[in-house]
Symmetry: C2
Subunit: 295 residues, 2 copies
């Protein structure tokens, strides 16, 4: 292993501390409202984590629960109420929704000024148009990690994003473009993907294919920001055991890359931290306060 390990644990802790320091200066505590519909166990865990993070950063969190039997109108009415509640700065609708509910339609009801997940059409449009707005958390976390490793000026770096999802691939491409990077978006239809990846100064695999990216796909010294989080069998840990791996094959990539983010302990922690950044930004923008830049 020659690559420097870029720890999501350290960087996210630093980002969270910065958010907390800024929050402490504010006259009012920013408030995040989290909506959980139904009782999906994984979603319960995520929501608890988000609520805890928010409180630890000195912000207020409010948990709204609806039963799995909630109607579309009930979900949207709750969102409309939170839009109208001047005390609420951010609204997060935990996904997925129970079957039968239309997540897209519900998300579109969120006031873009409170859209801390950056998922609405208006938020996506503002990103594409280069206007101020709330950006998706995972790609924002990727940019912060790149800057911590390579310095704040990413101009001219060639970023190759693998995957074109609306949650990661496309917003990551647009965010790195805004940092003056040359950006390539590759995906399942890309021809000779390894050759395309070897052009990258920064490679961002975000496809959900365990250990797909191998060391010989990398330009020596490149940075790998691994967005994938995949659970695979781990018989070496005992029968029926599993472990988490990224979209990059850590061992072989770490021998070629200059910098690499681990899984777990990498981008995932940044996603959580960036939700706090967005809640702070939303509060500042809504209340007319100068927003600090946290990166």
């Amino acid at each position: 292993m020659t690559a420097i390990r870029i720890s999501g644990k350290d960087i996210s802790a630093d980002v969270r501390a910065k958010v907390a320091a800024e929050v402490a200066k504010l006259p009012v505590k920013p408030c995040l409202a989290v909506i959980l519909v139904g009782e999906d166990p994984a979603s319960e865990v995520y929501v608890r984590g988000k609520l805890k993070d928010t409180e630890e950063a000195g912000m207020i969190s409010v948990h709204h629960r609806l039963p799995a039997t909630a109607t579309q109108a009930e979900v949207e009415d709750l969102i409309a109420g939170l839009n109208g509640d001047d005390n609420v700065d951010g609204i997060l609708l935990q996904l997925p929704l129970p079957k039968g509910l239309d997540a897209d339609a519900a998300i579109e009801r969120i006031d873009p000024s409170k859209d801390v997940d950056g998922l609405t059409e208006v938020s996506a449009g503002r990103l594409s148009l280069g206007k101020p707005g709330l950006r998706s958390c995972t790609p924002s976390g990727c940019v912060i990690m790149a800057k911590r490793a390579l310095g704040n000026d990413l101009s001219g770096k060639h970023v190759v994003v693998i995957g074109r999802s609306i949650l990661v691939g496309k917003p990551a491409a647009l965010l790195f473009l805004a940092e003056n990077c040359t950006v390539t978006i590759a995906h399942s239809r890309t021809k000779d993907l390894p050759a395309v990846c070897r052009e990258a100064d920064i490679l961002v695999p975000a496809v959900g294919r365990p250990q797909m990216v191998k060391g010989d796909w990398l330009k020596p010294g490149a940075m790998v920001i691994d967005v994938g989080i995949n659970r695979i069998d781990a018989p070496e840990k005992g029968e029926g055991k599993t472990r988490l791996v990224g979209d990059a094959d850590f061992e072989s990539c770490a021998d070629v890359a200059g910098y690499i983010t681990p899984v777990p302990g990498g981008v995932g922690l940044m996603t959580r931290a960036c939700l706090l950044v967005n809640t702070l930004y939303a509060a500042c923008a809504r209340r007319g306060w100068q927003a600090p830049e946290i990166g």
Copy 2:
């Protein structure tokens, strides 16, 4: 010259004929409202052209004029009135606006369902999110030209867009991505731009630099879709004479490319044709009619 010349004249005429044929089948003629503020001579010419195109396609055009002294509120009130007018399917605000007016704010007043220029935050967001919506005209024209030259399936083609403007570069990248192309966005900060361009199966220069792209920047057989329209001195035509050229050096590029669009007579004509397509699409979507696919 070995490249096949892809004529915007021929393709746009075909697109316009298809729009006219579809319009003729509709129970109501689609209606485009064009707003011109002030008396910019170039804008007058463009608006006249758009009105003429619309009428020739069998659609209704309504020209709204405001004096250069119009206030922001007057412009936005006019747009609000057109939003509320059920007979109006498309609203086009001719740019630039006279000094002192806020074009962005005015554009944001346009109902996205009538945003035939595809310029609102919601339209940009829908493109990025892969949702149905109205797309910018120039990049749509580029995709149509690519399909006419290379066939409808552009999967796996490597598209390099030079320029990251909100009018062309970014939406073109997203549109080609939706066609399953691998997409690179290059720009002024890109390192070794010629080498990046040589990766392209389809090169889309959109920067406004006359004849910047040279033949030796191309992979042999590549397609060049030249978005640039630049006026340069043409002393060979007589003292003080000028001529239009693209961002590609036509002579040297045509010796290497497989396909090339000329300037003038290329993408510019497609932009005009795609405004008609968008007006038709807007009318169908608003009125609940099945929209034909015109490409």
